[in-house]
Amino acid sequence: MKSNTSFFFPVIFALSFFCLVACNDYLNDDLTEVSSKKTYTIDNLAVQLKSITKSDRDEVISVAGIVHEVNTINNRPTILLKGNVAAQMLVICDMNANQSKRIEKVKKGDSILIKGVFKGVLKDAIMLNCVIVNGN
């Protein structure tokens, strides 16, 4: 009986740990150390959106663009990126809470690379839990 217990506890512990790791996903994590599945400029993102499949949703991607606006609408620090071509769609980056100091340095017109979880497209592309990769 004792040997059974000593066997099961490590197994249960290992399974619990695996579940914690496996069940957790990108949305609540700091993505700083997570590598992107793809990197886009906003201009080629607009073109490539036509070929985006279900499998690309909820993946971590990086987007390079020009800062169109920084705001805190709904009390969410958000950076809106635009491309070089006028009237293109924007990318709405809902920033991770740990980015507040970096966001303070971001200005309209800056070139920036942002990484986040791609959720899909309405009028604009939407990314959540974003972190600034470079640019500031």
Partner: protein, 182 residues
């Protein structure tokens, strides 16, 4: 001749300004929902809801990505997207409607009913929503609250989890609009 050119230019400018002023959009509208049962409370919010209003016609359209809702717990989001809403199959919820008796010239606050079709999980349902419309210096803000029944949207909740989810869900919304070209 000069007078004709000036009149033409003025007319064109007036037309352009009316066109620009006709439609307003919100890129970062907020929609949140709340479910209360004795077992647990579930709340989530989506802060990137798109909406467009045609001020002249009083028409409203709203579109949101169902997988962009933020929950307190990852497991709640997983159940919501994979088991209930099936966001892979039905990625968006939409609303198309008309503001009854809307007058875009009124400054300040007005309360109006918006009547339209809300489609979620592929199921359209006609709704009438009491809405507060503010027209102030910074633009239009439309906000409100309504309740809707889960059973109306063909959402399959396993009997084991039925006690965790309220039969009626309260939905709050707030949209800050800007000129379409902004």
């Amino acid at each position: 001749m000069m007078r004709v050119v000036l009149i033409l230019l003025f007319t064109m400018a007036s037309t352009l300004s009316i066109d620009n002023g006709e439609k307003i959009i919100a890129r970062q509208g907020k929609v949140s929902f709340f479910s209360h049962t004795s077992v647990e409370d579930i709340k989530a919010e989506n802060n990137q809801v798109f909406s467009i209003v045609d001020l002249e016609k009083g028409k409203v359209a709203v579109s949101m990505l169902m997988n962009a809702f933020i929950f307190e717990k990852a497991l709640m989001r997983e159940h919501f997207n994979e088991s209930y809403i099936e966001s892979d199959i039905y990625p968006k919820a939409t609303f198309e409607g008309e503001i009854i008796g809307f007058d875009s010239a009124i400054k300040g606050e007005q309360t109006r009913i918006i009547k339209g079709i809300f489609t979620m999980h592929g199921v359209p349902k006609e709704l009438e929503i009491k809405t507060r419309i503010e027209n102030n210096v910074s633009g239009y803000v439309i906000s409100g609250e309504f309740s809707t029944d889960v059973k109306d949207y063909d959402i399959n909740i396993p009997p084991l989890l039925a006690g965790n989810i309220a039969k009626s869900i309260t939905i709050n919304f707030r949209f800050e609009y800007r000129p379409y070209d902004d």
